[in-house]
């Protein structure tokens, strides 16, 4: 692989928050994208979201100057990912779903195609077992929004090969991202630290110790966090957060990872955070 965007063809599987974020990042850096999802409706929405986010990225000066935006193609068929040089899986944070998608796509692409999971918490080696060539799978934990945060967490599974690590380094350079490499574990580094913190913050609100704004205000004002844990949770998506906490709890037994009642109640009420307009905060009412 190289760092010339013309040498890359990206397939992104999953048209949700992270799939559209990653598509914007690639297109804005001149790398063409095939976005695959099982739903035509999701893809139609994703196309609008991607156009909107591309403008957001440009507005904030997050796209490289002088590089023409690449083309976006959408498809409901995984077969259309077959010609990609890299496939990034960004489907729901459910181990069986991710393993199924990665297994299928690994049998469609040519050997040597970089296979990336954008999982938040699921150990890479768990999913590698479902693929045709486990050495070609690596984890890249993009932040949200992926086009605004240049640092990413790269997870090397025990079976990830050297050639795969070279290829992912080249891709990330092409996309203007800096990667820090960690070893495989549930939640890796970021979410083994962040998710219990968010869960604890939510539990403090649930128990009436402090309201949402005060919990965030203390971590922002006293500890220098740029964004408080509950506003961060809204950005991640509370549905995704609960799925990830379950993955962590099942694999570590750490009680601080068991989703608290307030989080579960918000998800049951369809309040997933920014993407639905309400979570811990109401985004319809405030400029945020």
């Amino acid at each position: 692989m190289s760092t010339d965007p013309r040498d890359h063809r990206l397939a992104v599987v999953g048209g949700g928050v992270m799939g559209t974020n990653i598509a914007v990042l690639a297109i804005g850096h001149g790398v063409p994208v095939v976005l695959v999802d099982v739903s035509e409706e999701v893809l139609a929405r994703a196309e609008e979201t991607i156009a909107f986010k591309l403008r957001h990225a440009q507005l904030l000066g997050k796209l490289p100057a002088g590089r023409t935006a690449a083309k976006l193609v959408t498809s409901v068929s995984l077969v259309d990912a077959a010609d990609a040089t890299t496939v990034i899986e960004a489907v729901t944070e459910i181990p069986e779903t991710k393993a199924k998608v990665l297994g299928e796509v690994s049998r469609l692409v040519r050997p040597g195609t970089l296979l990336i999971s954008n999982t938040s918490c699921i150990p890479i080696d768990e999913m590698a077992s479902a693929t045709a060539r486990p050495e070609e799978l690596v984890g890249v934990h993009f932040m949200n929004p992926a086009y605004m945060i240049s640092m990413v967490e790269v997870i090397r599974g025990p079976r990830t090969g050297d050639a795969t690590m070279t290829a992912v380094t080249d891709l990330l350079e092409t996309l203007g991202r800096n990667g820090l490499v960690v070893n495989d574990a549930p939640g890796f580094v970021i979410n083994q630290v962040l998710h219990p913190l968010i869960n604890s913050a939510a539990r403090l609100v649930q128990d009436g110790v402090a309201p949402v704004e005060v919990v965030d205000g203390l971590l922002e004002g006293c500890l220098g966090h740029a964004t408080g844990p509950l506003r961060t949770a809204d950005l991640i998506g509370l549905d995704n957060l609960v799925d990830s906490l379950n993955v962590l709890y099942e694999r570590t037994g750490d009680a601080s990872c068991r989703p608290c009642d307030l989080l579960l109640d918000l998800v049951r009420a369809g309040k997933f955070g920014r993407k639905t307009g309400e979570g811990f905060y109401d985004y319809e009412k405030v400029a945020s």
Binding site: H56, L59, V286, A287
Partner: protein, 98 residues
């Protein structure tokens, strides 16, 4: 009648500034009115996520298209700068019915 009067009025920097300061004051829920030259991003009143709301608001309210090099954060920092942007794009004929 009031709406017709507003529509018939020519766009002036003062009128746009006034409308935008009211919009920003309402959206940020500040107790004191936002001033025309107040940088709403530097003051921390809004986040970068709100910037796109401003883009969409200006485009739909003044029937302009903000594209190319004009789509940059510096054009949205204050009500005064945004008013100048609206007038510039309207004068360029970017507004559909300008």
């Amino acid at each position: 009648m009031t709406d017709q009067t507003v529509e018939a009025s020519p766009l002036t920097a003062e009128a746009i500034e006034s409308a935008l300061t009211a919009y920003l004051t309402e959206k940020t829920r500040t107790t004191t009115e936002i001033k025309p030259d107040e940088d709403v991003f530097a003051s921390g009143l809004v986040t970068s996520m709100f910037a796109m709301q401003l883009v969409v608001h200006l485009e739909s309210t003044y029937d302009i298209a903000i594209i190319g090099p004009e789509l940059k954060l510096d054009n949205f920092r204050t009500a005064r700068v945004m008013a100048a942007l609206v007038l510039r794009l309207s004068a360029d004929g970017t507004a559909a019915d300008a």
